[in-house]
């Protein structure tokens, strides 16, 4: 097991492509996506509907350095479009050890 940062991001569906491009740019490979999430925040209710303006939940496990870079590229997107980013500690069960 290896200590990692667990980054959890809630963004609008339409920004997902953009976020993945940013992750590519800073060399973050792994992420998990849960599509079709709803929610409520400062900008009101977001529910999955015809408009494709629902939420997507993204989870990224990475080391502390990468986490800092992820936060750096996510922050302006959050600022522009809203959403949430939580960072916590976790242990990653490595396959081989």
């Amino acid at each position: 097991m290896k200590p990692v940062k667990r980054i959890e991001i809630v963004i609008e569906e339409i920004e997902l492509e953009n976020v993945i491009d940013e992750l590519d740019r800073i060399g973050v490979v792994g992420y998990t996506i849960v599509p079709r999430a709803g929610g409520r925040g400062e900008r009101g209710v977001r529910y999955e509907s015809v408009q494709g303006l629902g939420n997507v939940l993204m989870t990224i496990a990475c080391d502390e350095q990468q986490a800092a870079r992820v936060i750096e590229v996510i922050r302006p997107i959050l600022k522009r479009y809203g959403g949430v980013c939580l960072v916590s500690d976790a242990m990653w069960v490595i396959h081989d050890s």
Partner: protein
């Protein structure tokens, strides 16, 4: 002849049922994927039908419709924007976002108008379908331009990228691709093959539409909760703008394009209706400062039900009156 009973067509009644179900807070809910499936079906169905009709028509005759569509798509959002700024007096970014919705069109309203015409056995021209496909795009571009003008000075690093993305989206979004693609298929596919797929796309069409409108009735009704945020002057805009758009559409259909009553009604509906599928995500990307609660409530909660229930018969009456002059 037009009478009140012409409002008792299933399309409108199912819309009303959905509206009512949500109003009494029934737990009835369509899975969102069903809504998407129904939309895809309807767009392909409209496109195929339109393509087959267009193949019969002199292609030169379609050019006028194309030009008119681009004109409406560029002109209407500018008119809406000015009204929003000068009369309703909201901020420029929200005005730009809302205006783009009114330059674009609602395929659901368009198809309901066709159901209305068919129940009255009124014939209609085939060109408005191309206009439907074309009018999705220009309004998005205009919305972007208006927003960039509004924002000039307080530049934002993302803009170029977003602009490129949006111009791309304007021409490749799902509705446009489905409509144009299936129009092309309807026009060029061999008739034997087309006849095999028509039982699905034509015979079922009005039934599927009724299910779609049941769902859209619920969607519209769900927006009522945000009427407070929208405020009275914007709500008035949500009814006045389709009336103005409808009048412009009537004029274009009747005088510019020389359509009969049916075709004129359809052009009026194109001009009067506001997008709630392609434009909202585009404007959310383009103008994150604008409030979705405003543009969605207006297009989906006010203008859409107004057009379905009152607008269509009204524009139809006007089209009949014009034709009788």
């Amino acid at each position: 002849m037009f009478s009140l009973s012409s409002m008792l067509i299933p399309a409108i009644l199912f819309f009303a049922l959905g509206f009512f179900a949500q109003l009494v807070r029934s737990d009835l809910k369509f899975p969102p994927d069903l809504t998407k499936a129904l939309s895809i079906y309807l767009l392909v169905g409209i496109g195929l039908h339109g393509g087959m009709e267009l193949a019969k028509v002199d292609p030169a005759g379609a050019i006028g419709a194309v030009v008119a569509a681009v004109g409406l798509g560029l002109g209407l959002p500018v008119i809406a924007y000015l009204i929003l700024l000068l009369a309703v007096r909201i901020d420029r970014l929200n005005a730009a976002a809302i205006a783009a919705h009114y330059g674009s069109v609602s395929a659901g309203t368009f198809v309901t108008a066709i159901a209305f015409l068919e129940s009255l056995k009124v014939p209609y021209e085939s060109q408005p379908v191309i206009m439907l496909a074309i009018m999705e795009s220009p309004a998005i571009i205009i919305g972007l331009v208006l927003a960039n003008m509004a924002r000039r000075g307080n530049g934002n690093g993302h803009d170029k990228r977003v602009s490129r993305e949006l111009v791309h989206d304007a021409f490749t979004n799902g509705s446009v691709v489905l409509l144009l693609g299936s129009m092309l298929i309807g026009a060029i596919a061999q008739p034997a093959g087309l006849n095999k797929i028509l039982p699905f796309y034509e015979t079922m069409f009005m039934g599927v539409l009724s299910l779609f409108l049941l769902d859209m009735g619920m969607e519209a009704s769900r927006r009522i909760g945000d009427f407070g945020k929208v405020g009275p002057s914007l709500l008035v805009f949500g009814i006045a703008m389709p009336l103005l758009g409808g009048a412009i559409g009537l004029a274009v259909g009747h005088w510019v394009l020389g359509f009969g009553v049916g075709g004129t009604l359809l052009v009026a509906v194109l001009a009067a209706s506001a997008s709630y599928i392609a434009v909202p995500p585009a404007m959310r990307l383009a103008i994150p400062e604008a409030s979705p609660a405003l543009f969605l409530t207006l297009s989906l909660g006010v203008t859409f039900p107004f057009n379905i229930v009152l607008g269509i018969p009204l524009y139809f009456g006007a089209a009949q009156w014009l034709a009788s002059q």
